[in-house]
Symmetry: C2
Subunit: 355 residues, 2 copies
């Protein structure tokens, strides 16, 4: 049995008893019933994930997968392909958005070369898991072989496991890859059945004309490759990307270890669809951090039954939304753990409803 | 000239030059143009408030006004009136939601007795600014005199100034007062012209029948008192509350000192309408932290032209939403200050648009 199959077998459901205990405790805390809204929901979700009635997540890690995409040749991105490798260097020097936000929230950033089309320097914060030098052009044929798809996913599983071994309880997904909204749109269209035009957006900022062209490329990728929507590994291999496969593995590895997979935006959402396709129960371990400005992201969240925590019109990727939302998740856990109960505080409870 | 009038005279507009400089810097940072969405907008707003091209807010304070409301006699709240004083004691012991969240975000909490109908113990974290032992019942007559309204507002100004003198750059507004959604709905209806039924909600959790009764009480308060919508102090005196006046003053004092007034939910929103009515320019210094589950809150935000940062279905008050959103505000400032530029990082910029 391969690492992927073993990991999938380890993914079990949420702990209902811990969730019920957390819910009961919420109702004794000194606030009107339900008045902390989604913070209460998150705290109960965390209880189910960690199997603890009063969960306290500790370490935070962003796993940032970087890779190149052959479909960049079709002119689908506003930025030249070499930006992928340049941004990896920027991540390693600490100058990118994710570096700033991860420092602010106290999260570690693990940068992973899942398939950048360049030789990258060795660096303590750079994990090499190169499956190839960029994918093939999905407008002409499959992105990668099924074996490569499995390799990308299994790399993600082991990198998540290493982060968890170092103490991470919240694992955020991040991505960097010029043109990677194109395979993400193809995955979302393939799995959710939406039209390419509905789930394709302007990515880093192309024109209206560029957008029409990009949606056409997505449509062509689906027509050329015929991905099988009920076989997520087939979808990943045919129209995906190396970093997307890696992040799908990160989600599966995180779920198998009963930790929280904090999804970033659209590319992470495409990875979540792949992970969910491989193992639907992994969906129980997902928290959606934010609603991306990319139009396909809502389709992802609806498909997975997720509601984003933040709505800040972010469309940067890198795990920036995931990093920020970790603060909301921690705050939710703190409220459950630290608030006084009505009994402790000597506060009167709600009046009996008059009838 | 009174303290209120002097403060209003000190409130001037945002610094347009600093905002333009911040906007220019955003466009040189290593990310697709505009891809940090609202974080970019906030950073530019902060530049205008602090009159600095790269603003870094430091200290954070929540000013939590507590008071009682005569209209509680009409049975408009799910909780008995003594909960106001009991919760003040809970704030002082650190057991309430705002205590937990303020600790988490590193904010000081200043609890202010603006008019609690009980003798409260002296305590280093409790500021006494009692304007009365609860307001009069607005369903029967005015809440307070115009002199009391001015006194409440001026207390808020001086408490904000003290917090700023101690180093606060972000001032969050918080409230506690059993029945205080009722005067807030009355203020919102009076100033925005919406029907009482549209801007009255379930507060701490009353029944559908209770909600109909409460909206009727709001309507009655408006009919009995005839507040003048173009005279915000008249609205405050006729149908407001002591903590609402205090928070209006906090906003004015914060704006006069060029700091950020971080609004919590519905009651803070009613206070912001009063502050804005007294001095429209104070609106430039407001950041809306979250969209409350109270239906009238959207009317407040529309009226003030504000967009909330968080949408977490909170309806606790106390400044909980303000505390959480301070993290988003700080993160926004950090991105502007700390991200590398394209030139520094050697990252290629956007391709020229093909024509």
């Amino acid at each position: 049995m391969g690492a992927l199959e073993k990991t999938v077998k380890r993914i079990t459901g949420l702990d209902e008893a811990a969730m019920a205990a957390a819910r009961r405790r919420q109702d004794t805390l000194t606030k009107p019933l339900g008045s902390l809204g989604r913070l209460e929901e998150i705290s109960v979700h965390l209880a189910g994930i960690f199997a603890q009635p009063i969960p306290i997540p500790r370490g935070k890690t962003i796993i940032l997968g970087a890779a190149d995409h052959g479909v960049a040749d079709e002119g689908v991105s506003a930025y030249p392909r070499e930006v992928t490798a340049q941004m990896v260097l920027n991540f390693l020097r600490g100058g990118a958005g994710i570096n700033v936000l991860a420092r602010y929230v106290g999260a570690e950033v693990v940068v992973v070369d899942a398939g950048v089309a360049a030789e990258l320097p060795s660096h303590p914060a750079l994990h090499s898991a190169k499956v190839g030098w960029g994918t093939a052009n999905i407008a002409r044929g499959p992105a990668m072989s099924r074996e490569q798809a499995i390799r990308a996913v299994e790399s993600g599983i082991s990198i998540a496991e290493e982060a968890i071994a170092r103490g991470a309880d919240l694992i955020g997904t991040g991505d960097m890859g010029i043109a990677n909204t194109t395979p993400s749109s193809a995955i979302v269209a393939a799995i959710t059945g939406r039209e390419p035009e509905v789930v394709t957006g302007k990515g880093t900022g192309i024109s209206e004309e560029g957008l029409r062209h990009k949606a056409g490329v997505v449509r062509q990728a689906l027509e050329v490759n015929h991905p099988n929507p009920s076989d997520a590994l087939d979808v990943l291999a045919k129209v995906g990307g190396f970093e997307i496969g890696l992040l799908a593995g990160v989600i599966l590895g995180t779920a198998a270890s009963r930790r929280v997979a904090v999804l970033d935006g659209f590319i992470s959402g495409a990875a979540a669809l792949i992970a969910h396709g491989i193992c639907p129960r992994a969906g129980d371990y997902l928290v959606a951090s934010h609603l991306s400005a990319e139009p396909g992201h809502q389709a992802v969240l609806s498909n997975l039954g997720l509601k984003p925590l933040l709505n800040l019109d972010l469309r940067l990727g890198e795990g920036t939304g995931a990093a920020l939302s970790m603060l909301v998740i921690e705050a939710a856990a703190r409220c459950l753990a630290e608030m006084a109960t009505f009994a402790d505080a000597g506060v009167s409870e709600k009046k009996a409803e008059e009838t």
